[in-house]
């Protein structure tokens, strides 16, 4: 704390509260809209207080199915998106931690070549390789499957680099102590490396889960049938150009529900997440 005068405290709080209002108000307004009937929403101005349709709207969206996207329920969309986000996050972590393990702790021919190959893919945005990837997915018959949603996204140069940097801070003596203690490569990986990487894994999981959750372009391409859509894609499909065709109350409900899982992940893993970002525990 620099100063403790009342004025300073007041200004600091005022700025913070203003910031929160700016960020939170649109979300609050979305929530309000999700508790009114379609008619109320379409007749401006929209009330600033929640209406009485909370239960009706949410149960209709979650279990009833939404007409504009072929009668698929938001529950199905949430399931699809959760599977995809989890698959992408877990897959990315598994692959990148293994490749970083190989690159840091093993000596094999062309080791640095492989490292640079991985590194170079960082400079290649998804959009550049999206057509060939799509073609491969079509040939493999993975359109409209969870595998097709997940697999093309699980290679991660960034995560590999992060793990590599972390592994390089592990002192060589620790590796040698484990060797003297009779730990082979797998034992070392599971007994020592993995527990030491816990906080990094947690932080990465949060970031990658949200990355997977908010994917737009790839799910748009690889899913055709409505019941394989992710929630972000469905949300887009639900909005029509003609205002009257759009079931705005359900759109608002879907938007609210789309926010919940990422928030849950962040809140539940916050302790680990912050530790992973701040702490450089050896």
């Amino acid at each position: 704390m620099i100063g403790q005068s009342p004025l300073r405290t007041f200004i600091a709080h005022a700025v913070l509260i203003l910031g929160i209002l700016i960020v939170a108000f649109p979300i609050y307004y979305t929530f309000v809209a999700s508790t009114h009937t379609l008619q109320t929403i379409l007749r401006p101005p929209l009330p600033l207080l929640p209406g009485g349709q909370l239960w009706n709207n949410y149960s209709e969206a979650l279990f009833g199915g939404i007409g504009r996207i072929g009668g698929v329920s938001v529950g199905q969309l949430l399931l699809n998106t959760t599977i995809m986000a989890l698959g992408v996050a877990v897959g990315k972590i598994c692959i990148s931690i293994l490749s970083a393990y190989a690159i840091v702790f093993f000596r094999f021919p062309l080791r640095m070549t492989f490292f640079w190959l991985i590194f170079i893919t960082l400079m290649l945005p998804v959009e550049v390789r999206i057509l060939p990837t799509y073609k491969v997915m079509v040939d493999l018959g993975m359109i409209d499957t969870y595998a097709g949603l997940i697999i093309p996204l699980i290679a991660s140069a960034t995560a590999t680099l992060l793990f590599r940097q972390f592994f390089m801070t592990i002192p060589g003596e620790l590796v040698e102590a484990a060797r003297v203690d009779g730990a082979g490569p797998w034992r070392f990986f599971f007994d020592i490396l993995l527990p030491l990487s816990r906080t990094n894994i947690a932080a990465l999981f949060v970031i990658l889960f949200i990355y997977g959750w908010t994917q737009y372009l790839w799910p748009l391409l690889v899913t055709n049938s409505n019941d394989m859509n992710t929630i972000v894609i469905a949300l887009r499909k639900m909005v029509s150009f003609a205002d009257a065709d759009t079931e705005w109350h359900l759109v608002m409900v879907t938007a609210m529900l789309a926010i919940v899982p990422p928030i849950l992940v962040v809140v539940l893993m916050q302790r680990w997440f912050v530790r992973g970002l701040v702490e450089s525990e050896k």
Binding site: E173, L174, E176, A177, V180, D181, I192, P195, R198
Partner: protein, 355 residues
């Protein structure tokens, strides 16, 4: 029960650097061998080759008469104490000590009894549930020792284990390591750059320099009869005084022309040395036959308490003389440094000792 035999061991790194250039050492059962030398002399590399953490470029390492060149560290049945302790940070003290036993498939109750009895010996019983980061440096050091002892290995390897401790704790742990090693009777190799540690711990002292062994022997033998000028200046604190000689028809002279007054044991001697404690100072001018007498100027006085060190300029170089008690000399005083002839050491052109 184990012996260690190194025969002509060499280490050449892929970059072409030759870290160890052919070392042969035989360590009998139950003895503690200290490898000492300046940094970069190859002592740690040698230790790591015994451990199996570095490949051996040439020569053989044998444990109990069995060549282990191609065997990994686990099968060599060695335990190592590292400079930075290398404790597993996420494991409790108990698990740190038990880990090696678990990997070897030791039964659970045996692990438990061995960990607990080792912890008792090292006074770690109260700390078994702590994690390494909650321990002090000295405690971590003990855990590292415990992890080595609990396995009951054939050989202990110590890689500068005390260099991260403060001076007082270091002295204490030194004694403890020596006692433990003696009670357990485990053959040990100990690497250090600290000559005091080397002198006090070793059964066999190996002085290394630039990848080669300069001298091997009992610590006091090495001290009394250093095999080379390198050993003479490395072992002993303060180091031995070394003075260059120039030969002449009338006998050896010091570099500044002072005649020594008696003959060198060998004509090829080009360096003369004496330990600071083998010399004395006098203000009198009487003749002292059979002794080396050097006119000197006191440059600095270091009183240490029980003794004082006089730094003097004599015969064109700086020499150090130890006088017991408090020194009466002051900086700037002119005096004579006297060293008995039988306490002089002589070295030839290559720096080797001549007797």
């Amino acid at each position: 029960m184990a012996t260690v035999d190194l025969r002509d061991v060499k280490k050449v790194y892929p970059s072409g650097v030759e870290a160890v250039k052919g070392v042969s050492i035989a360590i009998p059962d139950k003895e503690l061998c200290v490898l000492v030398g300046p940094s970069g002399c190859g002592k740690s590399t040698l230790l790591r080759m015994i451990a199996g953490l570095e490949t051996i470029s040439a020569g053989t390492v044998a444990i109990d008469g069995k060549v282990v060149n191609a065997i990994g560290p686990t099968e060599r049945d060695i335990a190592m104490v590292f400079q930075n302790y290398a404790l597993y940070p996420h494991m409790k003290v108990y698990d740190n000590m038990a880990y090696g036993l678990r990997n070897r498939g030791t039964p659970k109750d045996e692990i438990d009894s061995r960990v607990r009895s080792t912890a008792k010996v090292l006074e770690l019983s109260a700390l078994l549930d702590r994690r390494p980061r909650e321990l002090s440096g000295g405690q971590r050091q003990r855990v590292a020792m415990g992890r080595a002892i609990v396995r009951n290995p054939k050989i202990f390897l110590f890689d500068e284990p005390l260099s991260n401790l403060d001076a007082k704790l270091r002295g204490q742990m030194r004694v403890e390591i020596k006692n433990l090693q003696r009670t357990l009777g485990v053959t040990s190799v100990y690497v250090t750059h600290d000559q005091l540690e080397a002198m006090t711990l070793a059964d066999i002292l190996v002085v290394m320099n630039a990848g080669l062994v300069e001298q091997t022997g009992a610590p006091l033998d090495v001290y009394e009869k250093p095999a080379s000028t390198f050993v003479a200046s490395f072992i002993g604190a303060p180091p031995m005084n070394l003075l260059a000689l120039t030969g002449s028809s009338s006998g050896p002279m010091l570099a500044d022309g002072t005649a020594i007054g008696f003959a060198a044991p060998e004509t090829q001697a080009v360096t003369l040395g004496f330990r600071p404690e083998d010399a004395d100072v006098t203000f009198n001018a009487e003749a002292l036959p059979g002794a080396l007498v050097l006119p000197a100027t006191v440059e600095a006085v270091e009183p240490v308490g029980a003794e004082s060190f006089l730094h003097c300029a004599a015969a064109g170089s700086r020499i150090i003389v130890r006088v017991s008690g408090r020194a009466t000399a002051k900086p700037g005083d002119q005096l004579r440094v006297v060293a008995k002839a039988e306490r002089l050491h002589w070295f030839d052109q290559a720096g080797k000792r001549v007797d």
